[in-house]
């Protein structure tokens, strides 16, 4: 598993990141306190920790879809906070793939259209996009379900469509919040292996939140979170 060449180039760097929800209000929550984290290009990283410890929040902040309250986040040597929204968005559409904890799909689009969306956003011709999306769905084992709407898919199937969508445009980094939570162990492993394979072959950076120790073991590094802090680094 360790044939991958080490790369000291940090793709993502978080410095003293703090996230406070409802700041100054009685229901204030300090979801992240003083987080420092570096992620190398091509690295596969797992974030673990008890429920409510701030994993999702961390993912959102360092991926740039949420703003940190304080601290600095650098992505590919660019200061995230200083990027314009348009630039951030463009960066997301080209270089990132997201898998959220749940409700990932656009309900009015069928499976195929959901997977096509990132391709179309990157300027693919509709025909080309369709072809690629089909291939991707085939890869996640959904060749029978192209034209189903999300509400006609099982939880696991939805999750697989989401994964297909996150991978289809070959992003540089994939943010996955419990991507295999709804799958049986066998499928979970298959899918996760697919993601790790991409990580290995194409050098895609992978940041995963999971509660499954066995899955976590497959990545390069695991960090543990507790009450908004990174408790310890498992392996470096």
């Amino acid at each position: 598993m360790k044939q991958k060449q080490e790369n000291n180039d940090f793709l993502i760097e978080a410095k003293n990141v703090v996230k406070i929800f409802n700041k100054g209000m009685p229901n204030e929550v300090v979801a992240l306190s003083d987080i420092n984290l570096q992620i190398r290009k091509g690295e596969a990283l797992t974030i673990m920790g008890p429920s409510g410890s701030g994993k999702t929040t961390l993912l959102n902040c360092i991926s740039g879809i949420d703003d940190a309250t304080r601290g600095e986040i650098w992505i590919a040597r660019q200061n995230l906070q200083k990027m314009s929204d348009n630039k951030k968005t463009k960066y997301r559409s080209q270089k990132m793939g997201f898998i959220f904890q749940s409700f990932n799909l656009i309900p009015v689009l069928n499976a195929l259209e959901n997977v096509e969306l990132p391709l179309l956003l990157n300027g693919y011709k509709p025909k080309e996009a369709r072809k690629k999306a089909k291939l991707m769905l085939d890869k996640v084992g959904l060749s029978e379900r192209y034209y189903h709407k999300p509400n006609e898919l099982s939880g696991g199937q939805k999750q697989r469509v989401t994964i297909a969508r996150a991978l289809v445009h070959s992003p540089e980094v994939i943010w996955a919040d419990e991507p295999t939570g709804n799958l049986d162990r066998k499928t979970a492993f298959e899918i996760f292996d697919l993601m790790v394979k991409l990580n290995h072959e194409l050098g895609v950076t992978l940041v995963v939140v999971t509660h499954d120790q066995e899955i976590a073991e497959k990545t390069d590094r695991i960090i543990y979170m507790e009450s908004g802090k990174i408790k310890n680094f498992d392996k470096i």
Partner: protein, 1034 residues
Amino acid sequence: MVSTIIFIIFGFIIFTLFSLSLLNPIPRKVGVRNVRRRIGNTALVVLGSMVGTALICGALVMSDSLDATFLKIVKNRVGEVDANAQVFANQNYFEKFLTQSEVDEISNKLQQTGQVDGFLPAIYLQVSPQKIRMNIDGSTIDNFFGVDFYGIDFEQLKNFGSSSIQVNNFKNQNGIVISKEYSEKMDLRVGDEVRVILGNKPLILKVEYISDEKGVMGGEKIFADIYYVAQNLNFNSPKYNYFFISHVGGVIPDDYDAINFSNILSSIFNEFTTQDRVMIVDEIKQEALDGYGLKIFVTMFIALSMFGILAGILLIINLYMMLASERKFEMGILRAIALTKRKLALSFVIEGAIYSLISSFVGVIVGVGIGYLITYFLQSSFQGILKSTNSLDLEIVFDFDLESLVIAFCVGSIITILTTLFVSLRISNFSIVSAIRDLSEEKAKKINLKWILGTLGIFLLTINFLTLFIFTFFIENFKDSFFQGLNEQEVQRYTEVFQGYSFYLGLTGALIFGAILLGRITWLIFKKDMLSFYYTLSLITLIVVTVMMPEISYLTKLLKYEEAVGLIFISGVNLVVASAIITSFNLVAITKLIKIIFSPASKLIPVFMMGLRYPSFNRSRTGFTLLMFSLVIFLISFISIEKASVDSLADNEVSKNLGGYELVIVPNTITRELFEGIEDLIIDIEKTENVIGVEKVINMNIEFPNIKYKDLENKPYFGNPNQAPIFKPEDNFSTKINVVSREYINLLDLNFLEFKETFQNESEVWDALFGNKDYVVLGTAFNSQGYGPMPNFKVGDKIKISDLTNTKIVEKEVIGILEPNTVQRGFTVLEYLIIPENTVIEDFGLDTVYESSDAQILVDINNEVSEEVKKTLKEKLSNYNIVAFFDVNDLSESFLSFIKSLYRLTQGFLAFSLIVGASGLAIIITRSVNERKQQIGMLRSLGFQKQMILLMFFIESTFIATIAIILGVAMGVIGTVTIFNSVGEENPNLSIIVPWGEIIFIAILIYLFSMLFALLPSIKASKLSPVEATNYVE
């Protein structure tokens, strides 16, 4: 009555809901919690449902204000006269008047009721006075109109109510009192003389007093001494046919007191009804209201507002459907963990009831505001129109009944609560699984035999209606009790009205239920869902049938009557609803088409995809939005077309009737000298600068010696002075000859309804008329309504006519009949028997012609300097004896002013329904944004730029608004053309003008307006952070 029912329903619903919520704490808590959970959300729902109530309330307040306005006019006119009673008889009218002793008896009985403080018996006739003093200014066409003429005892008048009129003995026996209004209209001053025909005798009456009292003297009236009148009618002693009655306190039309009072009066006067005499009591204020056509104004207004109100109701339905679909997941969970279907429905209804009560309350306040604003803004423009045309002196009063507010509140609440009930029952019937997974319940799957039989039953029932079987059955079996007390015409009327409605409603029902039935059977047998297809087919059929209205005799028959308002409304709604449903069933196809047509730049493909996908995904929501929007636009197109057409109609009529002549001069022709003097006058006018042409038209009174009034079809109420001049059934039917020249005919654009087959074309008919003294052409009156009874002549008929003294009788053959007139404008030249001048003189001799004719001089002037020419002409005319001088264009203005002010009013209200459309769209988009927050976040994290989200919503709202505008305009044009064609069969002059420029301008305006409204929520959406993607449930 209606308000009581509404109130009872409202009370019942609230009581039921209240007790249910007391008995079921959990649904109550869930419902109340939901209201409080998100204030923004609540505010939005309240705002949306408020609009409906506000429109209802606004319409009612407007109609109250109009009522108050009209009542004020009426009060100004009739003052303290609360009722009148009249004698009607079919034969020997003058012999059926009440005698003095009968009148005394009535007077006593009225005294005994204790409710009457004024009773004034009179002789009432209609006369057409001709003024003898010559003048020019201030005279109008009204010289030719009849005026109410009363013979009263002036001593008794002093005792009538609180009247303070002091008329001392007249200097002359033939002295008269005229009302101020009449004196102004005719420019009559004290000392002036007028000539009237009383009985058969011409009488000269002298104005001795001008009264500006309201009450008995209000309106346009002439009063003479009753003894003098009786004497001239050859009565031996005074007899009476008319009675003014005043109530001690005065009554208000439509009020309980008024009805009660008129019932008391009726019972007293009915005792004097005999076999050949009928006594009829009228609530005079009511009469006055109806008489000015003011009630129709209000009715039309309410009818037109219905479209706006309907749009408001659709908005409410739409909002609650959105609310429900948003709640689907939650409701599924509630069902899964605790609540039964009913309790779940109850929680939603409780929530809805809270919204509806709040929103109805707010809506009522806003509605009053709307009413106030409209009256405020209309005041100036409205008055401008009416003032300029010398018509009603109208000041719009802002006023409302508390009852109207209560009705608006209750109706608004009832609609909203029923909507939530309907929606919640639908939702609570969803299986838990499909609610949680957001699946749409497959309706077709539930179909079993029971459903099919049910639909079959309804289908057959509507078919039954369609074949009118039920109705025929009723008519045949219960005819007597059904039509008790109605005359033949009324029976026919109700039958035709009923048949028309049965046909159309039956057909609508049969088509819809037929589609459902077919859909169910197809599903049962072939397991294929074809419902959309069948609906589409059925509804297209419905549109086609509606458009073919002019060809369907059931419907054209119905359209003759006032009751057709409902049909017009229903068919309009049908067109819009059908087209909106067809569209919403075929949204996928439409979006595909749009994608093909527009093929967006590749970067924008995802934006287009999303923007167009939502509307077709939420089919029913889109359908309702379309419907709401297009109803408003339908109405706008309808009004624009009607306005343009009526305007052009008026112009057509003027040029048709007068051949381009603008001025009409009516010379005094009571003596032969005056008559002969016309020629000098004409020469004088011709010499005037900028006068292009002059034409003389003579009208000669004649009778038909062989035709008596009583022989005519559609007999009038003989002796009813309100409906026709007084004539006796045994009198000969009389009318006029329009004496014309060939040159004048050539100028006119006249069309024949039919002419004798031996002629090739219309000009041959005219050639023949001027070449053969035995021919006659019948004018426009012979087929128009509103001219009273007319003989039913056909081409080829030989008719005998004579002068009024029956000394000379001639026979003529009818060789052509002109097309009827559309608008009663009070001035048409070629209405009656059209005969050339030399023929008439040859037939009757110059003496007779002069004795029994009046004349008009038509003048064509250079329009560019019309005011100057008018001034010079007036100066010249002061040397001649002129009765009237007027500009035809002013005249047509005044005839149209009523219709025009109606347009103003409706347009004012429309502006508000437009806001319903636009704000409805905005509210729906705002809710969509709330509903889709998570999805928008998702799109943003996938790489949708802010502008792309904005564009997505823009495409979505443009899509809906554009389709709605297209549907609304298309159906508006089609519907209006259909209605015009059906109604206008008797109005061939009516050509439909579709003011495309105006309609397109308004459509673009509406579009921009809605986009403006939609912009705010769209911007809000575009500002959502991508992190919303992780906020799953609010």
